[in-house]
């Protein structure tokens, strides 16, 4: 984990704050489509109809405050992951989305994001807690992920964690 570095392109949206799970994946799709690859074709559609075409595997979503507010639909982080999104970088997250993302193995980075341009290439250094702009030169630091979240990510998500340990094992030392 300490050496994990992710590289990809930033995608920004309007609105920047309070991007809710209806915008991530609309109820008109998620109630009838169970296949995440199919759902991924509609991800972010209500605020950016071209997003599914534009996104490349390994890219990042970049946003302001309270990303993922609204409904509890786990299809939101799953469809983003299926579309190729490797991490989300935002100033803050809604509670349920935060848990859901780590539960399904999608890392969320919390830091200042105003400096990041749409389309900019970024590197995330998970071990050292840094987001680095590869085109412009801006950067931001972030605090290490909470231990609980690191354990879940390390185990590949919540259900793999339960399977591996036969229950919860969240009180380990360093991960």
């Amino acid at each position: 984990m300490a050496s994990t570095r992710l590289e990809g392109r930033a995608h920004r949206f309007e609105p920047n704050d309070d991007i809710n799970t209806d915008y991530i994946i609309s109820g008109r799709y998620k109630f009838k489509i169970g296949d995440m690859q199919e759902l991924a074709k509609h991800v972010m559609e209500d605020i950016d109809p071209d997003f599914a075409q534009k996104v490349d595997s390994g890219d990042f979503i970049v946003a302001g405050r309270n990303f993922g507010c609204g409904s509890s639909r786990e299809q939101a982080p799953r469809a983003l992951k299926a579309a190729g999104v490797a991490a989300i970088i935002a100033r803050s997250y809604a509670r349920i989305f935060y848990r859901n993302s780590f539960n399904i193995g999608l890392p969320l980075i919390t830091c200042e994001t105003d400096w990041i341009e749409d389309g900019e290439r970024l590197a995330i250094d998970l071990g050292n807690g840094k987001v680095i702009g590869l085109d412009g030169g801006g950067n931001a630091e972030f605090s290490p992920l909470p231990l609980t979240m690191r354990i879940l990510l390390e185990d590949g998500g919540l259900i793999p964690h339960i399977k591996k340990h036969g229950g919860f094992s969240l009180e380990r030392g360093e991960v």
Partner: protein
Amino acid sequence: MGGKTIAEKVLSDRSTSDCHAGDIVVAAVDYCMAQDGTSKLMIEELENLGFERARTKSGMAVVLDHSAPSPSAEVSRIHGEIRRFSKECEVELHDVGEGVCHQVIPESGKIRPGDLVVGADSHTCTYGALNLCSTGLGSADVAAAAFTGKLWFRVPETYRVNISGSVGERTGPKDLILTLIGMMGADGATYKSIEFVGDAIRTIGMDGRMTMANMVVEMGAKFGPFQFDDVTADWYDSIGMKIDNGVESDADAVYEREVDIDASDVVPKVAAPHRVDNVRDVADCEGIEVNQAFLGTCTNGRLSDLMSAAKILKGKRVHENVRFIVAPASRRILAEAVRSGAFGTLIESGAIVVAPGCGPCVGTHAGVPSDGDNVISTANRNFMGRMGNNSNVSIYLASPETVVASALNGHITDPRGL
């Protein structure tokens, strides 16, 4: 350490530890549930784990309410899988037509004051009205709770919201909670537990308390517990359960923040497009044309909501340009509204009745708006595209009184002026 809040008490008890805000605990979960939009992923996870029976103390339920009855073959297949799962694993099934999960779960008598409840639906916080801690989670978390009987929680800090005074005519719980959300913002209470106290709260019945607890997630909160009192005991009595006491916060409990609202200052409110925290006085939106009005949902589809609406509509007909859709929150409520005569009044006023359940709230069926429509609704979310159409549709959220007053006039109307 000072005393404890309701959240700290419930999580201490269920984790058999002495925990305070900020701690991470693994706590025993009393009850869990999922609905037809979230069950499929949960069932896949459970099958992956080799699930046989729920280990949560009082069991588990699945509720078919979001697309019910099914509008398509795809949804019918998902409903079929959920029915098969419920039979094989002895999970309680509330099939199509029984009502919205957040009404049928309380009615089922499976959750009690002091409980810790999780559900794969963000409005699971509704049950805080019953003096317990409940919260919405994703499908994997609920699967983990069902499989192990436990779940990890970060113990939340608590905001105490003290509502004094009393509300005026045709102003009610929806206006109070919209006022609070407008003050706090969409992330103003992220991760927090909200305890509601004060003179105004004591006079609010269980239906109104559920309206308020339902919407705490719209400011990011995790729990929305009310105190236990005669209203709680009487409500349990009405479903045939005798419960004499609940969980109380200590007099010296530590609150991160205290918010005071004088109910006598609160006026009818709307949440204007496209944000729940875009709260304005109805008076400031008066005159905006309305094409569809919706009375129902886990926020405002209960008996007192239908009765307040019927009182205003008695002997009148809604405006000819307005489609007035009504979805009672449960079959039990529908039956009571029929018996009381309120339902007849709604139908005679021009109501289009859809099955007890979520109705058109989440855009799956039963009243998708047309391009450019303005909708006034008693629901809890007004995001772009929420009701199934993103072509210039505007959704305004308001109380049952404001919704029917607007349906009568064909434009947004302050119910006090009728």
